[in-house]
């Protein structure tokens, strides 16, 4: 494999392979930024991977009072799933359990899509007949009486079928500490890119997986080629000086957004340099046959 080196960081001549997904966005507001964030964190908790969680979700950005429909501080949340039906199911249960329940919250559509997903149109039944529908022009809201007043929720939100899931960066370094520092820098840079999320804890995943397992019924298992303790035992992808590897998985509302996020992540890792951060950047793929979206690292180097 040809290797490109930028400021001491080696960049593999490979690509990240990503898949088409269904996605939606929400704006969650509350009386304070703290409570808007709290509702969003609960709603997007346990949403790291579609395999085990049904969806992948995260906070896209925080919004000031001037940027939200009701003039209160808010948060924009993105939700990704493999099918419209699953996305609808996850949206309904997550907003119902985590946003409806959060003090002073309200919930609005965060995207205009080609199709609509039920938001308040499903949650309104919690009102037990006391729910109130309010329309103004094309806007439709539900008011559901709750113990601190009313939960205001837009009737529907948009759905996009152009979303991309599974953009990724593999970050390799000499020690777990320096590798984590590089991954943190990349995750912080990616968090600033609009229309993308990194759904794993803090944006970073340490248990990258490969397809398949020696055990029946397990669809995925540990990515042994990147486990430093197995170097020498299995066919490794690690260099002699690699002590740890971390991955950042990126989901975006568009393919361009995913590319922009990967570009920002790579730039942040290179800026930190090989001494304090990572010595090498790679990406995960399945040989290019499974996913329609390919992001070649050499095209994304600053």
């Amino acid at each position: 494999m040809r290797v490109l080196t930028v400021k001491g960081v080696r960049i593999d001549d490979t690509f990240a392979e990503a898949f088409g997904m269904r996605a939606t966005a929400l704006i969650i507001t509350a009386d304070t930024a703290r409570w808007a964030r709290q509702a969003a964190l609960n709603m997007t908790g346990f949403a790291t991977s579609v395999i085990g969680c049904g969806c992948e979700a995260g906070i896209d950005c925080e919004l000031t009072a001037k940027q939200t429909p009701d003039g209160r501080p808010g948060v924009r949340v993105l939700l990704f799933a493999v099918s419209t039906a699953e996305l609808q199911k996850q949206l309904q249960s997550r907003v119902g359990q985590s946003v409806l329940t959060s003090p002073g919250s309200a919930c609005y559509a965060g995207i205009e899509g080609e199709e609509a997903l039920r938001l308040g149109n499903g949650l309104r039944y919690f009102g037990d007949g006391w729910q109130i529908s309010k329309r103004f022009g094309a806007k439709h809201f539900w008011r559901i009486p709750v113990m601190d007043g009313e939960f205001v929720c837009e009737a529907t939100t948009g759905l996009t079928k152009k979303a991309v899931g599974g953009g990724n960066l593999l970050i390799l370094g000499r020690t777990s500490k320096t590798t984590r520092a590089a991954a943190e820098a990349a995750a912080a840079a990616i968090a600033k890119v609009p229309d993308v999320i990194a759904p794993f804890p803090g944006g970073i995943v340490r248990s990258g997986s490969k397809v398949g397992s020696k055990y029946k019924g397990a669809p995925a298992s540990t990515n042994d080629a990147y486990c430093p303790t197995l170097r020498g035992v299995v066919k490794t992808s690690l260099d002699a000086d690699t002590g740890a590897a971390l991955e950042i998985v990126i989901d975006g509302l568009t393919s361009d957004a995913v590319a922009a996020a990967m570009r920002a992540g790579i730039a942040a890792i290179i800026k930190l340099g090989p001494k304090r951060g990572a010595t090498r950047i790679s990406a995960g793929n399945y040989g290019g046959k499974l996913g329609p979206h390919h992001y070649h690292l050499r095209d994304l180097v600053p």
């Binding site: 003039g71 006391w130 109130i132 309010k134 329309r135 103004f136 806007k139 809201f141 008011r143 009313e150």
Partner: protein, 271 residues
């Protein structure tokens, strides 16, 4: 392009039906064709050309100058475009409107905006009785759109309203929002007796209370509801005055308990 303008030659001897003078019915017509359109409501034939001087222009923008209260059905069932009327109009202005914008720079008679489905009607003067309301035998009144009255409105404004928003910046007569099915009615000043009489659902906001409240409304206490602030943001482009009212802390009354009881009256200032 200049607007298509109708200027009154002389006050008509009878009431006129101006429902043919809407953008979608005038599009592509020549001045001669427009002048031959009949407007009479009696057996005496009256053509547009006898009543108005017609200046051809864009049929999407219609101007009616020196209007009088014998002009009925102005802007009826219009689907788009823009009609501006200088002067007063008669009954059922903007009835069954489905889109566009109707501006009345004067007073409107009874049943203005009757059964409007979409679009915007602005009345700079006062509106007569049964603003937005249904005609005899109709099940529902206003079904959508926005009606703004800068002056006051007569009795039963928003009668049997089903959806949409009425904003009356002045006072409202007796039984404002009577038999409302749903929708929103905002009255900037004081309302007459028994607002929300037999309302099932819907929202009435009264800036300065009413002369008598029905005993079938129950007090729910003072609230500062997010939904009202959200609505304030949406109606602000139509009426700053009404938006400011919705941002105030409001006393909520639920009713009418004589019927379904899922309606609400908010009062800004209790007198």
């Amino acid at each position: 392009m200049k607007p298509l303008t109708f200027t009154l030659r002389q006050r008509p001897a009878e009431r006129l039906d101006l429902s043919p003078l809407v953008p979608h019915l005038l599009a592509g017509k020549t001045a001669a064709q427009i002048e031959r359109i009949e407007l009479q409501t009696t057996r005496v034939r009256v053509d547009v050309g006898e009543i108005f001087r017609v200046r051809v222009g864009d049929a999407e923008q219609i101007r009616i100058e020196d209007a009088c209260d014998r002009f009925d059905h102005v802007g009826q069932a219009m689907t788009g475009g823009d009609i501006v009327v200088d002067g007063d109009v008669g009954i059922q202005a903007g009835r069954l409107m489905a889109g566009g914008r109707l501006t009345l720079r004067g007073n409107a008679g009874p049943w203005a905006a009757a059964g409007i489905k979409a679009g915007v009607i602005e009345i700079l003067g006062a509106a007569g009785d049964r603003l937005g309301g249904p005609l005899a035998g109709e099940m529902a009144g206003m079904r959508g759109g926005v009606v703004v009255v800068r002056g006051s409105a007569g009795e039963r404004a928003g009668d049997r309203m089903r959806r949409g928003t009425i904003i009356i910046e002045g006072e409202a007569g007796a039984h404002a929002g009577s038999r409302m099915i749903a929708g929103t009615l905002v009255v900037g000043q004081k309302a007459g007796p028994l607002p929300g009489f037999l309302m099932k659902r819907g929202t009435i906001v009264l800036g300065a209370g009413c002369s008598a409240m029905s005993p079938t409304f129950v007090d729910c206490g003072q609230h500062d509801l997010l939904a009202m602030r959200l609505l304030a943001g949406l109606i602000d482009p139509y009426s700053r005055h009404a938006a400011a009212l919705l941002r105030r802390r409001l006393q909520r009354f639920a009713g009418d308990m004589a019927v379904l009881g899922k309606g609400e009256i908010f009062i800004g200032n209790r007198n």
